[in-house]
Symmetry: C2
Subunit: 361 residues, 2 copies
């Protein structure tokens, strides 16, 4: 295992071991072109094949209908927080946003630069431990779109259903749970995701956008974030982040080899339910999110005795567990268990948690 | 040499061999953290050290004064084409732009989304073989800034002097000649550069901006492109492209090891003057740019007998010369000889050109 550790980073996060090995092995001389994949033109036939393969594999994995464009851009989800209103506003005055925590709030704040925002549902009053049920949401009929965050990386809250937005296009920031299981893309107008959690390295953003939404862009939208322009140029209006795109393509092939999204969905379900089981069963660890709203990707937990937090982090680090420190907004610990985190690593963490409790509980 | 070729790509372009070797050797386990540099948090102490080192080394190389901020962003130079007006417009109505060719024109087109553009100087009438002398430029006293493109990657035209913009901030798109030699940063308000030519892999943008220009931003500027916000967050308002940043840092260290910008400047001058010498001395090859406006980085050339172009490209490819095909806007051939292209590769190209002329001239 080349001395690799248990990596529970929230992002940039673990990348599949086999993908990194391949990237290493061909880093100096890729596909016998005599150069690194980083050193060749994005418009050369070799890289174009990578770009097309990556798109095709992503389409296969997510069963993306043919009336959707797939874009590989820069700027991350935060870039999309601006790109979404700039591209979808059209002649509308406002958009609906669901406030499910830190990242939803950040998206709302950015959208307010460009249009009025109506908060359609808010989990704030109960500390984001659950969201109001859909019959309580206040949707606007003339909203440009309804935006939500299917998984909150920091709070550890995840939607187990796709909201019904009626005729209003549904927009999702899937940065931290895209490709964690099957999803019905046809229910969405737009899906976007920063790559650095379930796709590949930081610096790449995947956008999946329905054709009919490409005609609502604002002239104020920077060209690099303009969906229509990028779609018309196969995401190469500006030089794309080629190495990140290549790595994403390798991750998509790896996912297919694992059996696709149905197979990884099952593994992810098992990983999460084991870890929550350990937390709930212990009386020593705790997680604040209501059972049906718990994230399968990011699992924050605290100790009943918070004075032991530092000890937990220090001792787990000695055992090879990395990046378990919780986000400063939440404290305690957080285990991010994306696709690339093997089930055995979760098992090892659970063993450590049991042993830690045995010694200090 | 691991079967590597002579890489004359215009961008993404050659990266120093030693840099790639180091990246390969530590790809699976970087600095003994037990993970790839791609897999760790940008806010962890290990990556923060990379980020700080890269900035320090770049400051050392370019002798960047302390009243300038250095940003590591996404979106490339095309992203900056929008970011510059969005950040620097302030209460001004217009900006001055110098039109030196393809990239200058692209910058102008994008700026026109946000403000009026005055063309201060234009090389169009003579096919961009030279620019009007500075006494003929029409500068506006109340321009928000004066923008120019020190090196045109496609046309192969380079400024050998820094324009005098008076009290108006001078802005430069240095994507294709940054770090090719020393430059007096204090003469500029803002310098930006896509990384994929002289800095590292595609997907990273370096911005060097004078402190006093951080207060002119528009509310319409997407947060990820907002200089003030990014400066206040050490370029980590959104997750940065960590692997590209790391590689850029390795390139900066490599440059220091070569003797810094004075040393690389001498090598670059020698490489370019040898290649132009071969072109001019032959009567078989030609370059359309006036001698004092010729680029040291991108050298387009055509054959007196254009029917031999395809043969030149095919035979040179067999000898291991790659990406010599000229941009479609110019035709013929182009040799991009950035810092990472060794002098011996230029020598080898010259030898090939001589031999090709001997056979077909």
């Amino acid at each position: 295992m080349e001395n690799r550790v248990y990596n529970f980073s929230a992002g940039p996060a673990a990348i599949p071991h086999e993908v990194l090995q391949q990237a290493r092995d061909e880093l100096m001389n890729w596909q016998d072109v005599g150069a690194s994949v980083m050193e060749v033109s994005h418009r050369g036939k070799e890289f174009l094949a990578v770009a097309h393969d990556a798109e095709k594999d992503l389409r296969d994995l997510l069963k993306i209908p043919s009336n959707y464009k797939v874009l590989f851009l820069q700027g991350g989800a935060r870039g999309q927080f601006a790109a979404v209103p700039l591209n979808l506003k059209g002649d509308k005055k406002s958009a609906d946003y669901v406030n499910s925590g830190h990242w939803a709030q950040s998206a709302i704040k950015e959208a307010q630069r460009y249009m009025d925002v109506n908060i359609a549902a808010d989990g704030k009053s109960n500390g984001f431990s659950a969201m109001p049920s859909q019959d309580q949401w206040r949707l606007s009929k003339d909203a440009a779109y309804l935006h939500y965050t299917p998984n909150e990386t920091i709070g550890g809250l995840e939607f187990s259903f796709i909201p019904d937005s009626g005729d209003v296009p549904l927009v999702a920031d899937m940065s931290s749970n895209i490709l964690s299981g099957p999803v019905d893309v046809s229910k969405f107008g737009l899906i976007y995701a920063g790559a650095q959690k379930n796709i590949g390295p930081a610096g790449l953003t995947v956008v999946i956008v329905r054709d009919d939404l490409l005609d609502h862009g604002s002239l104020m939208c920077p060209a690099v974030l303009d969906y229509k322009l990028q779609a018309g140029n196969e995401s190469m209006y500006n030089t794309p982040p080629t190495f990140a795109w290549y790595l994403a393509g390798l991750v998509f092939k790896w996912l297919k080899k694992q059996g696709g999204l149905e197979a990884i969905n099952e593994i992810n379900g098992r990983k999460a339910s084991k870890l929550y089981g350990q937390i709930d069963g212990s009386g020593f660890y705790q997680n604040p999110v209501d059972a049906q709203w718990r994230s399968r990707m990011n699992i924050p937990f605290t100790l009943i005795k918070p004075e032991l937090d530092e000890k937990f982090l220090a001792e787990s680090e000695l055992e090879g567990f990395r990046y378990l420190k919780g986000h400063k907004a939440v404290g305690g610990m957080r285990a991010s268990i994306y696709n690339a985190v093997p089930e055995q690593h979760v098992d090892a963490l659970i063993d450590f948690m049991k042993e830690f409790e045995r010694r200090y509980g």
